[in-house]
Symmetry: D2
Subunit: 174 residues, 4 copies
């Protein structure tokens, strides 16, 4: 394995004496990866196709019909192909796996598989945030960094929009 | 699809007039998901098995031989089974896919598939952070939240350790 | 694990004396799973989108634009969504992963992920058969057996057809 | 897409006049892919670890502790690593996903992911055959054909064996 030594005191937490642990915890705090915005996207969706009960649970298929995305380093359109292949699970959450393509304004076509969960409000009635783990496959070159990082997505809706859509915002862990 | 309305102004950025965009950007800034520590783990590894060149690139197999993890809400051991199935890619990075199991101190067995990349230093010789997208499959109950969120992992090494290992730290996007 | 005892002498081949091995080999011969036709499909395809070189190799995306399938126990249409996400590999073969949906004439929507390889002719110039491992996810009920078996697909072309297509024939291992 | 023209009359079935259909059906019959034996393996298994109910259903983990395989073109050992990650599904079947490694007697290490189902007897009490879709990742060279074909696996047990095991027999579609 490539030995890329990354300065980290994290390991010390596990086996160090108390004072060392304290300083290790401080250093972890400093080294928390930060999230930076990659893009905000509006993904338009078509009428859901009900698959119904399968051997793994209830499924539906939500076609992706287009959209757009914009961020500090990339912008373009969502191609009108792909879908979200949803599964209602035993923990009360709906698993989403959205598989589709972005085309940047300079012509790169990038696959995104965005998996995560939509969960009901917690016991106190508070909404639970919807977080995803987007995985990209870009061509080499300008956007290859999309294939190298760890990313977090959020799922939201634009209250002002009239057509069916989701707002997917993607962040990169620096 | 379940309509879980999550307060977000993100979508406005795409289509709003200038002043609205400004305020939307502010709101996004406020709504950035934060990362909170789930655990720090030490994953012990055995001697790599060289697979060699495959149809997809050069591969090696790194056995996972045990370890431990500790965090604010969970702690326990890494089971001595599983491996990191690495692939050297055309972008100069090594893709890691580590598939193994955690056993908590109260007996839950949790699968983790931790995928990410180890990349060489950038053009200026600066190390590039190694970030992963861990995906968990826990039993229902106390740890089911591990199956619902978006997570980021980091890869490091403990300079003080004598045996082969990696330090994997996992964060949850709140 | 469920102990579904299936009569098989196969294991004896590994550890039995010579005469027993002979009879075991005979029994294996008798127990070879046979392939039975599930359906023949014509899958229409759109113009390929060139992705270009990625970290895993050269990729292209071939949209699936519709089609039909017919077999002894099922018939219907190929939905105009989905694609074949191809990868040129280091063994000279092109890996295909076609992900799309069938809709039967009685309304069931069934996901198929059909993975396999297209390889160049062998050293003697003879064509090499293209074989795939289709995996189905059907709703429960009439077609649930599609989610339970082992399947083999073949890839061909209809010389008489004028529009771009592939002929995918699917067999089930009895 | 590479245009590897494979002689097939299959497509004609869909759109040809009656007499042509008849002859096409005959030709399909002749072109049925045949299954040829790749190997018979005995895969030794350890005590199952109960995971319990998850968001996707009840799971258990069956460690793979070693074994051997033998066939006309390859033989060797099953490495003592890997597992079968089982899921009890809503169709009454248990989904198996066994992920492990073979080492041939000439030193190649080959990954196998063997997915399939174990289903209860049918309504008449007859056992249902257990069929899988093994997918291999071999190094380039002598065994690279394992990464190019379509394969079918069967699952059995050796009544004469005293230790926990499964007999996995693998066939290739010619």
């Amino acid at each position: 394995m490539q030995r890329i030594i990354i300065a980290t005191a994290a390991a010390l937490v596990l086996a160090a004496p108390a004072s060392a642990q304290e300083s290790a915890r401080e250093r972890i705090a400093e080294e928390y990866p930060e999230l930076e915005l990659v893009y905000v996207s509006r993904v338009n969706i078509g009428a859901p196709l009900t698959i119904g009960e399968t051997a793994r649970g209830n499924r539906r298929l939500i076609p992706i019909t287009g959209g757009s995305f914009e961020g500090p380093e990339m912008r373009g359109e969502v191609l009108p192909m792909g879908w979200d292949w949803q599964l209602d699970r035993g923990d009360g959450c709906t698993q989403i796996i959205a598989d589709y393509f972005l085309r940047t304004d300079d012509g790169a076509v990038i696959n995104i598989v965005n998996a995560g969960t939509l969960c009901p409000p917690d016991a106190d009635g508070n909404p639970r945030p919807a977080r995803t783990s987007p995985v990209f496959e870009p061509p080499l070159g300008k956007y290859e960094w999309l294939g190298q990082g760890g990313f977090i997505g959020t799922i939201g809706f634009d209250p002002a929009a009239s057509e069916p859509h989701v707002v997917i915002t993607v962040y990169r862990a620096k």
